[in-house]
């Protein structure tokens, strides 16, 4: 069972309490964007077999969004962090690099 610690309320929640929100840190292209940018924002996903940064909502708990870094090939959770950032924190990136020297980085 997938367990993620919600950085908003500090609770270690199992996945029945959580709602997945898909790939994180996607640039939102809006009005005025090119067709390709808009298509990419809406549909194109990295979908990596490996390190994945993603959004989750603590739906059955505090109700707030947060970020998680997880491996899609092993289900290992590297860590969770605030929703209020545009990229993963450096210490988390370093932690992942130590565990996965071959990872191409964020």
């Amino acid at each position: 069972m997938l367990l993620l610690t919600c950085p908003n309320c500090g609770i270690k929640a199992d996945e029945t309490e959580l709602h997945p929100g898909g790939e994180a840190h996607i640039t939102r292209h809006g009005a005025g964007a090119s067709d390709s940018d808009f298509e990419g924002y809406l549909f194109h996903r990295k979908n990596p077999k490996g390190v994945h940064f993603e959004r989750w909502r603590h739906a059955m708990g505090c109700g707030k969004w947060f970020h998680a870094a997880r491996a899609t090939d092993t289900l290992e959770v590297f860590g969770t962090y605030s929703a209020q950032v545009f990229e993963p924190p450096n210490d988390l990136i370093e932690k992942i690099k130590l565990k996965r020297p071959d990872w191409e980085g964020f």
Partner: protein, 415 residues
């Protein structure tokens, strides 16, 4: 290839079954092929088969990292139906369903197609309206379906509980010529026919890079060395994103786990397939007597072929309400497959940004039923370089144009 027949069984019975041939060859890879297909699942093998049969292209290799049919093709719950809402879907799924009708004869391999009938239960007022609409659309598309009453549901499936406490059965969309087939046999039958045409099925051969020059594909790097090709077909379901990254483009697709389970075998009690989309569960009975059960996919990205337990629990809970008779059955096996979910939940049969590289994928939770139709359409695309009428609506360009084939509402959940 020596044909399978009643006579062959009698002949072999007389000589202690010493004369059966291997069903397909295990060749060493050549240096180059006209077409390389990545993925020996049902879709990859069917693509190869129709390339040979319909277009005479037989200098073909099907490259498979594991064993043939070991992906989703060997992991699914084998439901076959074509009662889709949108015209492009109905066309390709009905083409596939009609090819299933004659597949055993065509391949000289018993795929055990069993058109036992598929019903999709309506358990809310919205579903009644939705399925009646689909039945009307199917009438226009020439797909035989009808909306049936609860009494008829009970007649066709006596073990069903009509007056469930949460979601009573209010009717059903019934496709009498839908049903099931033996999944492994579909892969094996196509593989045997492809091998017979001289094609190479390269098992335990993993593709790790796509080679290109000047915007055109030139080959692939595999665990058995480089293989050159004029055309490349990527047909790898849940691994589509991984292959796309090798080829240098992104897809409107994400990979997630879908699970299924089977019970201990019991006496025949159900000779139709029942799907209950509102409560997220479906069930049929295999020829061995096992109840074959499936539900919804997990919501998060996953490549591990393992799903979350709570989904199994939800599915079983829903089905016990619908079929109280199964409440004390023991479940024998449970497994998962990685399904390729697209932005509009419809498949992709398309050219790609890389020249002479084509993709067939995104069948998600429902692509067993479409194997022959998809192979038929993909073979045409690969052979001619341009999609035919079946494949054209399923191009990647639809995501840029906003021309979605929106079946997620019509098809409810899985498969």
């Amino acid at each position: 290839m020596r044909r399978y027949s009643a006579f062959a069984i009698a002949r072999e019975a007389l000589r202690f079954h010493t004369g059966w041939e291997r069903a397909w060859a295990a060749p060493e890879p050549k240096a180059d092929y006209d077409v390389v297909i990545v993925g020996a699942g049902g879709h990859g093998l069917a693509t190869a088969y129709y390339l040979g049969k319909n277009y005479g292209i037989t200098n073909v290799a099907i490259v498979e990292k594991g064993w043939l049919g070991g992906g989703n093709t060997g992991r699914n719950t084998t439901i076959i139906r074509s009662n889709y809402l949108q015209d492009p879907s109905a066309a390709i799924y009905e083409k596939a369903r009609s090819l299933y009708e004659t597949m055993s004869q065509d391949l000289n391999y018993n795929v055990m197609f069993s058109p036992r009938g598929v019903m999709m239960l309506a358990q809310t007022e919205h579903e009644i309206r939705g399925y009646q609409r689909t039945a009307h659309a199917n009438a226009l598309q020439g797909v035989a379906t009808e909306f049936i009453s609860p009494a008829r549901v009970k007649e066709l499936c006596p073990i069903i509980e009509l007056s469930g406490p949460r979601y009573p059965v209010l009717g059903a969309l019934w496709q009498p010529r839908g049903g099931t087939a033996r999944h492994d046999a579909v892969a094996w039958g196509y593989a045997r026919a492809c091998s017979d045409m001289g094609m190479h099925i390269l098992q335990k051969t993993e593709v790790s890079a796509v080679l290109q020059s000047g915007g055109q594909v030139t080959g692939v790097t595999t665990s058995k060395g480089d293989i050159k090709c004029k055309k490349l077909a990527i047909v790898v379901a849940g691994n589509s994103g991984v292959l796309a990254e090798m080829a240098g483009f992104r897809l409107p697709m994400e990979s997630a786990a879908l699970q299924a389970l089977v019970s201990e075998p019991i006496k025949p009690c159900m000779d139709v397939v029942v799907m209950a989309n509102t409560v997220h569960g479906y069930m049929s009975q295999s020829d061995k007597g096992e109840m074959v059960i499936g539900g919804g996919a997990d919501g998060f990205n996953n490549y591990t072929q393992r799903g979350s337990f709570h989904h199994v629990e939800e599915t079983v809970r829903a089905l016990i309400e619908t079929f109280p008779i199964i409440s004390r059955l023991k479940m024998l096996r449970q497994w998962g497959g990685i399904v390729d979910m697209t932005g509009d939940r419809s498949p992709i049969i398309s050219k790609t940004p890389l020249g002479n590289c084509f993709i067939d994928g995104g069948w998600g939770t429902g692509g067993f039923k479409s194997i022959p139709g998809s192979g038929w359409a993909m073979a045409e695309l690969v052979a001619k370089g341009e999609p035919g009428a079946l494949a054209a609506p399923f191009g990647l360009d639809r995501f840029k144009e906003g021309r979605f084939i929106d079946e997620s509402v019509a098809a409810g959940v899985a498969h």
